[in-house]
Amino acid sequence: MTKISHDKVEVVIIGSGIVGSTMAAELGEAGFNVLVLEAGPERRLSDMISSQIWSRRLRWAGPEVRETGDLVGAANFAMGWGTGGAGLHWYANWFRLHPDDFHVRSLYGRSLDWPIGYDDLRPWYDHAQFYFGVSGDDDSNAPPGEAYPMPAISLSKQSQAIKAGFDAEGLTLTTNTLAVNSAPYDGRAACLLDGWCDAGCPIGALANPLVLQWPRARKAGVELRHNAYAARIETDPSGSKAAAVVYLDEQGRENLQPADIVISACHTIWNARLLLLSVSDKYPDGLGNGSKTLGRYFTSHALTTIHGLFMQETEPHLGVAGANTLCLDGYDDKQPAKDAFGSRAWLVGQAAKPNDLLGTALARPEKYGEALDAYLHQASLHYGNMTVLCEEDSMPENRITLDPSKLDRYGLPMAYVSNSLPQANAARSELAKAEGLRIFKAAGTSDAWAGPRNPMHMMGGTIMGNDPSASVVNSYGQVHEVDNLFVAGASLFPTPGAINPTATLAALVFRTAEYIRTHRSELLP
């Protein structure tokens, strides 16, 4: 097939979401000639329609991911499609990994270690929270860092109702830290607390790439090319340098985009898949797979939601979709009981609308007919919820592979994700569920119940490490065998902790951008 060839750029970034757009803005502002390839269509603020039904168009619409195991099933829900990627429907929970999360192997003899520690990332966490705009108060359970640039969003009626349960359990419920403006910030409006976060925030109170990174990147001259689905990365004849990205356009034609530096920033599953697809004589098992760890150590967070109906009115439709409040008490105790392992964090008081996966109706899937109607009328006034995230050990068996027996719409082997929660983590999750039900009972609910265990967030697959024989990239995301090829995003995480990954992946992006800036002469010919 004849490829359409394009002029060489200095940097090509695959993916326009939070990771790709932040990297593009950083490198564009540093004077690099940057092109971003986005698989989906162009998005505008006017696409952020306040409706759980209409917001589905912002979610993944690329090739299917095949999944198996007991902690899978949310890939299409989690990923984005179009300008800004998942950054258009993310929940803006903003947490730092704790110091012990970086050294699980050394401290507990299980899972993995990061090649860097909290102190290495701390200045980048500080930088990122001012860049994104984070609201939050001091929390003695959170790792040390600069004060947040905005005060926290105040307690919602839902959180006020639930707080009594935490008090009774002797646990501290604090305000949450969110990349949502509690006051006007950096030219963006303050949040109206109307609970439409995951349908997109067109007023820009929630930091999203359309209002934050892309205006900066465009001003810096970054080019964004839509409907460009990356199919593989090609190397030079020696195999030591990435030479170009081959992508398919809307007509299915192959396009060759040469570049001096290639950065894959297209979400956890697709970062690994793209490298696995990039086979050659020199790399028959995939690019960057000299260690045979490419695709391995995939992790998620084991999530359980506690639901309840309260006597008082809770205004569940108001607030933020992420969480209004937070409990990190006990997070650092990774061994809360014999045979149970992992941290846990409570995210409390998520705004809930009637429909969609996280809506009040699906909180009670067994109800139908008149009972459903009666429940929804009650829930619209009295519903409350909280979600616990539990840590998953990093295991080589949990992995992303290619399934050559199933081809996607472009004729490429589909991604196949296998993830099962280790028994000790499952035991930790069960402890947390029992704790949550106690909290809701103590808070005076008339009815409280736990949802099923589900996955949330996707990490690993292109893990970082100092040892090229046991990891895919170094701590900057630089592929061990190909020094002008970088991977960015949560796929780098050797361990996931038990908190949402965006603050950490953003901190890593800023750190990598700084590395590329300071090694410009070595990376550019």
Binding site: G40, S50, R57, D356, Y368, P452
Partner: protein
């Protein structure tokens, strides 16, 4: 797709209460037409079956045009689809619904000797309960429990997930950008 099925099956307790009375079932069962609009993917019979099934799960689903909602979105570009199914199994969405509707009819004929639109309210309830409990006798593909989950979500979308539905639940809509139409 085994993982997805297990995920959704776990959502629904198999021991679930059965003493639920249903509103408007007889009205729905007597309906002679689903919508005046012709369908692009479904046959008229398929649309009637899906409508009756969804109306047995969510009162008002027929009037809200649930079959048209599903049909219209199956007929369009998948990237613009408004169906919740796209999160969980987008590999063959039209096939999923068609096979599910076929499963309803096959199971209903096996149990009662009649199509779903012709059985009694109690018999419809029995079918819904069997789907929730994963206790179908001849309907296996797609997983009836998963089909219930998805079709219930579609019905909830059109009845409760619109501005009109919010108003019915006394929830202020508070849109930044209101939807151009319900769906």
């Amino acid at each position: 797709m085994k993982g997805r099925r297990r995920f959704l099956t776990r959502v629904i307790p198999t021991t679930f209460w059965a003493s639920i009375t249903m509103r408007s079932l007889s009205q729905n069962a007597e309906a002679k037409t689903v919508e005046n609009t012709s369908h692009k993917i479904f046959t008229t019979t398929e649309a009637k079956t899906l409508t009756a099934w969804c109306a047995a799960i969510v009162s008002g689903a027929e009037e809200a045009g649930v079959a048209q909602f599903v049909d219209q979105n199956l007929a369009g570009d998948q990237a613009a689809s408004l169906l919740l199914l796209r999160y969980l199994d987008a590999s063959d969405m039209a096939g999923f619904y068609r096979k599910g509707i076929s499963g309803i009819e096959k199971e209903c004929l096996h149990r009662f000797g009649l199509p779903f639109v012709q059985v009694t309210d109690d018999q419809r309830v029995e079918m819904i309960q069997a789907a929730i409990a994963s206790d179908m006798q001849v309907w296996t593909d797609p997983d009836p429990n998963f089909f219930y989950f998805i079709s219930r979500s579609d019905a909830v979308d059109v009845v409760y997930g619109t501005q009109e539905g919010f108003a019915e639940l006394n929830i202020p809509y508070l849109a930044h950008i209101p939807p151009p139409r319900p769906w």
